[in-house]
């Protein structure tokens, strides 16, 4: 055990003296969540404000007076009237106008005789701001006309509403948000963990080859298994620590950012309590060992950093596919999914955060992850012991 600690201490000292490792494993993961949250809020706020301040140019044909009034009630709308339909596609492409609304001739007569009419609206589907604002105008105008018709027909507005829907939410806010948001959290954890394990795994195995120290290490009176296990533990630590710092960053970010609604903040605080955080971290320990074992096994035969990266990088797909599946509706944490690595974490974290985790299933998942970790370490040991590969 002492030998293992000496190896772990030396490997950690070496790695933590590397600026790249400090930035990738400590600084970035801690700052990632607050920056992402703060940045996303700021950007959304800025985009919304900038959209609200933009004027839109509308082309109108045969527009009735009351519609013109409605459009002009917003001083940011500018209007060009056309006597007849022209090539609006060209005008919109050239940005002379941004949208065009064509009323049929006799529209007002149709309205007076309570007929239904059809309007042509020319638009570019990618211009969300313009289209959103035009839709709003159209809805308001339609509502005004509807009110007028009801008044004309002496129909009380309530008579057109057969019933009101009154939803009584029995699910907890925590469960709702947990199930919706919980799927995204493993994304961040697992990808950060992958990045940390990959960088450390390559540095500890291929890096030793590049720096010509692998033979020095193998000449030590320590079994290859202890050397390998020491490296795997350090690589998994360098994966686990960033994931932990991600979580810390998330909690700190939520405390510092003001714009988050109180109900949401409260639910998140409730979700990230000591019990759920401990349960998540317990899953991440064997998972990080599994990842580092797998990475070491893959890079054991590589003799350069570049070769190691190209050997290990495709595995990211094996992580992303289950993570995407975990976000899909209908895929639930059950006995069928509890033993599938990555997918089980994706689904399990969702349940943990929602407070609805089934404890026997959680234990089964934890045990399966430990078995996967042991298998990955064994696999990496076999590769690490391959003289052709390791001394290449």
């Amino acid at each position: 055990m002492t030998t293992l600690f000496i190896i772990i201490k030396k490997e950690l000292t070496e790695l933590l003296r590397d600026k790249k490792t400090i930035i990738n494993s400590i600084v970035l993961p801690t700052l990632l969540m607050p920056i992402l949250m703060f940045g996303a809020m700021k950007v959304m706020d800025m985009v919304q404000k900038s959209n609200e301040a933009k004027s839109i140019h509308i082309g109108l044909v045969n527009a009735p007076e009351n519609f013109m009034k409605l459009v002009k009630s917003d001083s940011l709308n500018t209007v060009t009237n056309y006597n007849q339909p022209v090539d609006f596609k060209k005008l919109i492409d050239e940005e002379t106008i941004q949208t065009a609304i064509v009323f049929p001739k006799g529209f007002e007569t149709q309205m007076d005789s309570l007929e239904s009419s059809t309007l042509q609206i020319y638009r570019n589907g990618t211009k969300d701001n313009v289209n959103g604002r035009v839709s709003k105008i159209m809805k308001t105008y339609a509502a005004t006309l509807k009110e007028q018709r009801m008044a004309q027909l002496h129909i009380a507005p309530e008579k057109l509403i057969p019933f009101h829907e009154n939803y009584v939410e029995i699910g907890e806010q925590k469960e709702l948000i947990g199930k919706r948001m919980g799927g995204f959290i493993p994304y961040i954890f697992i990808l950060t963990m992958w990045g940390g394990c990959l960088l450390a795994g390559i540095d500890l195995v291929t890096g030793e080859k590049e720096r010509k120290t692998i033979e020095t290490t193998l000449s030590l009176p320590v079994s290859k298994f202890k050397i390998l296990f020491g490296k795997a533990v350090v690589a998994s630590l360098l994966g686990f620590i960033p994931a932990l710092l991600n979580l810390v960053g998330l909690i700190v970010g939520l405390k510092l950012i003001d714009n988050i609604p109180d109900t949401f903040k409260l639910a998140i605080n409730e979700m990230l309590n000591v019990q759920s955080v401990t349960m998540i971290l317990l899953l991440l320990i064997p998972f990080s060992l599994f990842l580092s074992g797998l990475i070491i096994a893959l890079v054991a035969g590589a003799s350069t950093f570049k070769e190691a990266q190209s050997k290990a990088s495709p595995i990211i797909m094996l992580l992303l596919i289950p993570l995407v599946l975990a976000l899909m509706p209908g895929i639930e944490f059950s006995w069928a999914t509890v033993f599938i690595p990555v997918l089980n974490i994706g689904l399990g974290v969702k349940e943990i955060m929602a407070g609805t985790i089934n404890i026997p299933q959680y234990i089964a998942m934890l045990v399966s992850l430990i078995i996967f970790a042991v298998a990955a370490i064994y696999f990496s040991y076999k590769k690490f012991s391959d003289e052709n590969a390791i001394l290449k």
């Binding site: 070496e14 010509k212 079994s223 052709n388 001394l391």
Partner: protein, 251 residues
């Protein structure tokens, strides 16, 4: 004492394109036998790729032989690599140092893994630092050192556990004459302390200076093995280098 008996190492390589692959077995070292005695310096000479490094790696327990046996300081290498490794100081061109550690940390790391008691480790470290002139850069990281400085630290880490058997593969390669001289001194001192020393070099003047017994390896097989005095007596060429080249060519 080192005794090698019919030591062989085979490597398998896959050749061919697409799905059609052929497995080839190559003997990097083929039935090598020799003996290195305590208090004597044994030189293993050979061209690049002759099988020197593979032989030395097997003796040091870094790789396992395919067949044959080797007894190192009374321990059969097949009985346990760790026991053999404790008795050996192994230094070759490919045993680099951990660049992000300093000499102090490096020797502590090795000393602890060789299970030296703390006081002995400290005493041994101070002796080697003094002897090799490492004190002035003992806190400097290896990555910031010159080749000479690194080689001194490599020698120190090889000798930290005062091993009975020393394997030096081109220990003075690329060093200035002053550093090389201090290393040659250490090898001589090891001999004087009755250690078993295997020494390999391409610098024939050093071989001439240090060697007691000699073996020449070519294409994985030993083509000459005798005392250095006998080798010199049998020489037909005017110098050691030429004699070595002639013998390899004849083989």
């Amino acid at each position: 004492m080192i005794q090698l008996n019919q030591l062989t190492k085979s490597f398998t390589t896959k050749t061919g394109k697409g799905l059609k692959k052929e497995i080839q077995t190559v003997n990097a070292v083929n039935q090598v036998s020799f003996e290195c005695k305590p208090g004597r310096i044994f030189s293993l000479l050979g061209a690049n790729g002759a099988g020197k490094t593979t032989t030395l790696r097997m003796i040091a327990g870094i790789i396992n032989p395919t067949s044959g046996s080797a007894i190192v300081d009374g321990v059969d290498i097949s009985q346990g690599n760790d026991e053999v490794k404790k008795r050996i100081g192994f230094l070759t061109g490919s045993t680099g140092l951990y660049e992000r550690l300093n000499p102090d940390e490096t020797l502590d790391f090795f000393g602890k893994l060789y299970q030296l008691p703390a006081a002995e480790l400290k005493e041994r470290k101070e002796y080697l630092f003094e002897k090799l002139g490492i004190n002035e850069f003992r806190k400097k990281r290896m990555g910031q050192m010159s080749t000479g400085m690194k080689q001194k630290v490599s020698i120190a880490r090889t000798l930290i556990h005062n091993p009975e058997v020393l394997i030096f593969d081109e220990p003075t390669s690329g060093l200035d004459v002053i550093t090389a001289e201090s290393i040659i001194d250490l090898i001589r001192e090891s001999k004087a302390n009755n250690k078993t020393v295997i020494f390999s070099s391409h610098i024939m003047s050093e071989v001439d200076l240090l060697c007691d017994d000699l073996a020449i390896i070519n294409k994985g097989s030993i083509i000459y093995n005798d005392t250095f005095d006998n080798f010199k007596n049998d020489m037909k060429a005017p110098n050691l280098t030429q004699e070595f080249i002639n013998r390899v060519k004849e083989a």
